[in-house]
C-alpha cells in the first residue's frame, strides 16, 4: 500500500509541476524548457531553509519568492522572444542552473547532494508518515489546480489565449504582451518552486541529477499527453506518465529483460497515443 501512496505522492508533485508549465505552454503558447531549473531552485532553497530549522510553511513561500526573483530576471530576457528562440533560450537557462547546482559546492554540496532534509510540519504535527504527506500533497495539488483554473478563466487568461494565437493582433487591442508573458512566467516558476519544495521535503535527499534538462522535457511530455490548453489535462498527463511505467512492473515480463521491456512498451504507447490523438487526451490546443 505504501508503494502505491508513494507513487501517488510523486504523481501529485509532478501534477503541480505540470499545472505550472501548462500556464506557460498550453495557455500562452510559449514552449519553455526552464521548468526543471525552477523546480530545482525551489527544491534547493526549501531544503536549505528546512535544514537551518525553518518551518516548511515559511520555507516554501520564501523559496517561491527566490524563484520569482530569478524568473523575473530570466523572463525579462525570454519575454522578448517567441517560438524556437524562446525554447532554446530557456534550455540554455536550465543548463546553466544545472551547472550551478553541480559546482556551487558550498551551497548545494555539488554532485553529492543535500541529505537529511526534514519533513514538513504544521503546529507541531509532522507530516512524517507517508499517508499524512499524501494528504498534504493532495491539498496542495487541489489548491494549485483551483488557482490555475481561476487564472485561466480570468481576463488575464483570455489575453494569454490571444497571445498564444496572435501576439501582434493582441497588442493592437492595447495589451503590453511582454508584461503578460513575463507575469505568467513568474507565476508558473513560483508554482514549480512549490513542487520542488514538496519534492525535497518528501524525498529528503536531492542532488543535481533530478533537475537536468530531461526533467523539463518529461514535464513538457506530461502536458502534451494530457492535452494542452486544459488544466485538467496537465494533472492527467502527470499521473499517467508517472503511474504507467510503475504499473508495467506488474505485467510479468521475464526478470532478465523486465526493465528493458517496460521501457519499450512505455515508449510504444506514447508514440501510438501521439499518432492517434496528437492534441493529447483533453487538449484544446496544438503547438
Amino acid at each position: 500500500m505504501d508503494y502505491f501512496i508513494h507513487v501517488a505522492i510523486l504523481a501529485s508533485i509532478w501534477g503541480i509541476l505540470a499545472l505550472s508549465l501548462e500556464l506557460v505552454v498550453g495557455e500562452t503558447g510559449l514552449v519553455s524548457l526552464a521548468h526543471a531549473a525552477f523546480f530545482g531552485i525551489g527544491a534547493y532553497a526549501t531544503a536549505i531553509l528546512l535544514k537551518i530549522g525553518l518551518n516548511f510553511f515559511f520555507a516554501a513561500p520564501l523559496a517561491m519568492a527566490v524563484v520569482a526573483a530569478v524568473a523575473l530576471a530570466i523572463g525579462l530576457v525570454l519575454s522578448r522572444f517567441k517560438g524556437d528562440i524562446y525554447m532554446l533560450a530557456s534550455l540554455g537557462f536550465t543548463s546553466i542552473v544545472y551547472s550551478i547546482f553541480l559546482n556551487w559546492q558550498s551551497v548545494t554540496n555539488g554532485p553529492l547532494g543535500l541529505p537529511a532534509i526534514p519533513r514538513a510540519s504544521l503546529f507541531g504535527f509532522s507530516f512524517s508518515t507517508i499517508m499524512s504527506y499524501f494528504v498534504l500533497v493532495i491539498i496542495m495539488l487541489a489548491l494549485v489546480y483551483a488557482f490555475c483554473r481561476w487564472l485561466t478563466r480570468s481576463s488575464f487568461g483570455r489575453v494569454l489565449h490571444a497571445i498564444r494565437e496572435d501576439e501582434e493582433a493582441t497588442s493592437i487591442f492595447g495589451y503590453r504582451t511582454t508584461h503578460y508573458k513575463l507575469l505568467v512566467f513568474v507565476i508558473a516558476a513560483m508554482l514549480a518552486a512549490l513542487a520542488g519544495g514538496l519534492y525535497a521535503s518528501y524525498i529528503s535527499f536531492i542532488d543535481p541529477s533530478s533537475f537536468m534538462v530531461a526533467a523539463s522535457i518529461f514535464v513538457l511530455a506530461t502536458i502534451i499527453l494530457g492535452g494542452l490548453g486544459n488544466v485538467r489535462g496537465a494533472i492527467l498527463g502527470a499521473f499517467i506518465l508517472i503511474m504507467f511505467p510503475e504499473a508495467l512492473r506488474f505485467v510479468g515480463f521475464p526478470a532478465d529483460i523486465a526493465a528493458q521491456s517496460r521501457q519499450l512498451v512505455y515508449g510504444l504507447v506514447l508514440i501510438l497515443l501521439m499518432l492517434f490523438r496528437p492534441q493529447g487526451i483533453w487538449g484544446t490546443f496544438r503547438l
Partner: protein, 243 residues
C-alpha cells in the same frame, strides 16, 4: 484641427518605397476612403500608423499632438482601432471572448483579478445583436462563416472606445445583406463624430459612403477631394486603367 494628421510619412521594404512622403489628414465626423490600385500603399499606411510597421520618417499628429514612435499597444489609448485586410481574429476562443478582448482590463495585474463584468457583457451583447452574431456568441471564432468572421472583426473594433476607426476592405467577399449592416455601422460611427478611414475597391460603395477620398499610387497621394472629383482626374484614371 484634424483628429489624425500624417505628414511626410515614408516606409521602405528592401528597395521598394511603399510610402513616399505621404501627407494625409482625417477629420472627425467624416468617412475618408483610401483608394488606389493593389500595392499602392493603402494597407501599408494603416499598418504604419497603427505601429504594426515601424515608422521610418514623417510625423503623426493625434488630436493635434505629435506622437513619436507609437507602439502597437498604445493605439487604443490614442483612441484608434482597426480591422485587418486578412482577418486576425483569435480563432480558438469564443465570439464573446473575442469581444471581451476589446473591452476588459489592459493591465496584467488588474486583468488577473477581473472575472466577470456585467457592463462589458451588456456592451458585447449590444454589439453582437447589432451585427447578428448574438446567437453564435459561444461558438469558437474559427467555426463562423467567412462573412460572420468579417462582422466579428468589425464588432470587435466597435467595442473599443475609439475616435478613429480604420477599416481595411471590410466589404470584401460579403453578401449584400452583410454589406448593408457594415454600411450602416460606418454611417453611425460618422454620425457619432468618429473619423472613419475606409480602404475599399468597390467604387459604388465608396461613392455611397465616403465624404472625401485619397487616391494612392506607388506609395504617393496622387489625388484628394470628394469621390466624384478625384474619379474625374486624369492621373487617377491613368493609375487604375493605364495610359
Amino acid at each position: 484641427m484634424s483628429i489624425l494628421a500624417i505628414q511626410k510619412l515614408s516606409k521602405t521594404f528592401g528597395g521598394v518605397r511603399a510610402l513616399d512622403a505621404i501627407d494625409v489628414s482625417f477629420e472627425a465626423g467624416e468617412i475618408t476612403a483610401l483608394i488606389g490600385p493593389n500595392g499602392s500603399g493603402k494597407t501599408t499606411l494603416i499598418n504604419t500608423v497603427t505601429a504594426l510597421f515601424s515608422q521610418e520618417s514623417g510625423t503623426i499628429f493625434v488630436h493635434g499632438e505629435e506622437r513619436q514612435r507609437i507602439r502597437p499597444h498604445e493605439i487604443v489609448a490614442l483612441g484608434m482601432t482597426r480591422t485587418f485586410q486578412s482577418m486576425r481574429l483569435i480563432e480558438q476562443i469564443s465570439v464573446l471572448d473575442n469581444m471581451f478582448l476589446a473591452l476588459t482590463e489592459r493591465g496584467p495585474f488588474r486583468a488577473l483579478i477581473e472575472q466577470r463584468n456585467a457592463s462589458h457583457e451588456k456592451h458585447a451583447e449590444e454589439i453582437l445583436k447589432k451585427i447578428g452574431l448574438w446567437e453564435k456568441r459561444h461558438a469558437h471564432a474559427e467555426k463562423l462563416s467567412y462573412g460572420q468572421r468579417k462582422l466579428l472583426e468589425i464588432g470587435r473594433a466597435l467595442a473599443v472606445d475609439a475616435r478613429v476607426y480604420f477599416f481595411d476592405e471590410p466589404f470584401a467577399g460579403l453578401f449584400r445583406e452583410m454589406r448593408a449592416i457594415i454600411s450602416d455601422i460606418l454611417r453611425e460611427l460618422r454620425a457619432n463624430g468618429a473619423a472613419v478611414i475606409l480602404v475599399e475597391h468597390d467604387m459604388a460603395l465608396v461613392r455611397g459612403l465616403a465624404d472625401t477620398c485619397y487616391v494612392l499610387d506607388s506609395g504617393k497621394v496622387i489625388a484628394h477631394g470628394t469621390v466624384e472629383e478625384v474619379l474625374q482626374k486624369e492621373n487617377v484614371i491613368e493609375a487604375y486603367l493605364g495610359k
